[in-house]
Amino acid sequence: METFLQQVINGISQGSAYALIALGYTMVYGVLRLINFAHGDVYMFGAFMGYYLANIPWIKSGVGTSAAGAVFVMLGAMVLSAGLGILIERFAYRPGRGPTRFTLAFWLGLLGAGGGQMAGQTFTSVVLGAFAGIAAGVVLELLGIRPVRQESRLALLIIAIGVSLFLENGGQQAFGADPKFFPQIIPTTSFKVGPLDLDSQRVIVLLVSLVLMVVLNIIVNYTKTGKAMRAVSFNLDAAKLMGINTDRIIAFTFALGSALAAAGGILVSLLYPRIDPLMGVMPGLKAFVAAVLGGIGNIPGAMIGGLIIGMAEVMAVGYGQSTYRDAIAFVILVLILLLRPAGIMGKGMIEKV
């Protein structure tokens, strides 16, 4: 019994990690109806930003493990990741909704920088390559090459896959492929509740994810922006006709979702302090499953879905075979989509004809 209760606690702490990622996933999907495959990689990006911020000398020595330091690291990583989210939205997803400028310049600039690195491997060649790319992009755009309006969501899905591959491979280049160890910016103290072992970090992760869930719920349901988000989610074109700046709302959604992913990345890295550029792939997918399980677009649902997946995994490992761990989430996904596609808390969605 003791062992079982301890396993329940293990499940909750693993589940709250998934829930943190699932919150952002469910928001983006709810608004854009897009499986943002890159979300798991934004989570990775957030963890790495936290890692670098926490390793800034004056943070490391000065504030050290104090609460102020932890908050600074957390907020800094969230802001940076929100910026990344906005960039992704602006240059990868928005072109599909209508012609936007500088898309070609942005991507060709990155491509040029990469090409410069491949050709010369010096700083100058990278900068030259980037400038050449940007110039080529601007010229091509002046010549009338415009993004194609995406009629199908599947094309967007493939773009999402592309962005995700870009972040994973780019992360391996920028951060190095070997795992890094996340500094313990919040000290951990273990304590016992009856026969059960708990510690401060696990409690903090669970509490923060609950708080974020509540805050998010308030934003979506009780603010004007939230109302606009729901309108966009309901019908993008109608929302636009009602005078809502849909691009801005979508960008805000991405920023919020990405900031949440970063918060998740840092909190999870405190619990499991090993980070690498591919760390977001599996948790990202599982968090998406959690979001579907809870009812996609539904914020408390994502929390519940995350907890269920985490619990199911821990129980499968604790009382069965650890090798089935990665399959559990997908078995749940298949079952839920076949039995109740709207998810636990979701309202039925009618496929528009």
Binding site: G96, L110, P147, I158, I161, Q173, V289, T323
Partner: protein, 322 residues
């Protein structure tokens, strides 16, 4: 030209190339040619689901894995018995029999897997279908991880090398011809009608479920064949070769070349495989640039490089994506 003349000529050409190719271009380029061939089979077959029928599967690696492992187990565990039964044949013929049995088993097993996945999945549409096929692909991989007889997590080693240029490109030829004939038949028109407008297709009396499942099963069978050829070329299988990233790369081949075009799928498979190999020395950087190219192609030319373009205009080109 009669059919048999075509096939006979093809066999002769393939056999001639097999005997001279490795010496001509070296073993490394030969290996790339083989991988290109296997990827062509995979991309062309995936195109049947994603391009022609308009469904979206990102679980192709799962069927590929089923084929690879089935064929390898048939040959490894049934090999001695089969060889004994065919002892009167010369060594090459024995190998051919063995490989053919493996390929047939692989096609059947992968086809069954495709059917089992297709039936429940096809209640779903669009990205839900996509994510469920991804889930199934992962479930298949995890199941393989847990079967000890085929190496489990440690990989399946000791597979005899049976396939070569001749077999791989024979497989390519059969796949391309079959898919080509299929999409230009009444079945193919049914597939395309489902892609273009499922509701209208249903209203016109097309049994959409049946055709969707059919395209899944046929596509999976060819993926199984590709798996078999792959396993018997590399002599070693590991579940990590069949991660969902493999499915991603297959999709990239299909969409880069052009959804709903056989030539597109072939072009995509050749381009992706060769480019990644040529730029190998740049390590992960080539993958960074590669993913940027993918995003750009999707933003500026979502129908792929070739789109629905085909060498032969027997029908009006259909829009590539719905």
């Amino acid at each position: 030209m009669k059919k048999w003349v075509f096939w006979l000529a093809a066999l002769v050409v393939l056999a001639a190339m097999e005997s001279s190719l490795r010496g001509l271009i070296g073993a490394y380029n030969y290996q790339i040619v083989i991988l290109v061939g296997i990827n062509i089979i995979l991309a062309v077959s995936l195109n049947l689901i994603n391009g022609y029928t308009g469904q979206f599967s990102i679980g192709h690696a799962g069927f590929y894995a089923v084929g690879a492992y089935t064929s390898a187990s048939v040959v490894v565990y049934g090999g001695p018995a089969i060889r004994a039964a065919t002892a009167f044949l010369p060594q090459t013929a024995q190998n051919a029999v063995l490989l053919l049995l493996g390929i047939i088993a692989a096609a059947i097993a992968a086809g069954i897997a495709g059917w089992a996945v297709g039936i429940p999945s096809l209640r779903l549409r669009g990205d839900y279908l996509a994510i469920v096929t991804l889930g199934f692909g992962e479930i298949i991989r995890v199941l393989i991880l847990n079967i000890d007889a085929i190496g489990g997590a440690r990989g399946f080693s000791g597979i005899p090398q049976l396939s070569n240029f001749f077999w791989v490109y024979l497989g390519v030829l059969i796949t391309v011809v079959t898919v080509h004939n299929l999409v230009n038949s009444s079945y193919g028109r049914a597939f395309i009608s489902i892609r273009d407008d499922e509701i209208a297709a249903e209203a016109m009396g097309v049994d959409t479920t049946r055709f969707k499942v059919m395209s899944f099963v046929i596509s999976s069978m060819f993926a199984g064949i590709a798996g078999s050829l792959f396993g018997h070329y590399t002599m070693y299988l590991h579940p990590n070769s069949f991660l969902f990233t493999t499915s991603f790369y297959l999709i990239i081949m299909v969409v880069v070349g052009g959804l709903g075009s056989i030539e597109g799928a072939i072009l995509g498979a050749v381009l992706v495989t060769v480019l990644l190999e040529v730029f190998r020395e740049f390590g992960a950087f080539r993958l960074v640039n590669f993913s940027i190219l993918l995003v750009l192609i999707m933003i500026y030319r979502p129908q792929g490089l070739l789109g629905a373009w085909t060498l032969f205009r027997t029908r009006k080109p259909a829009p590539a994506t719905k």
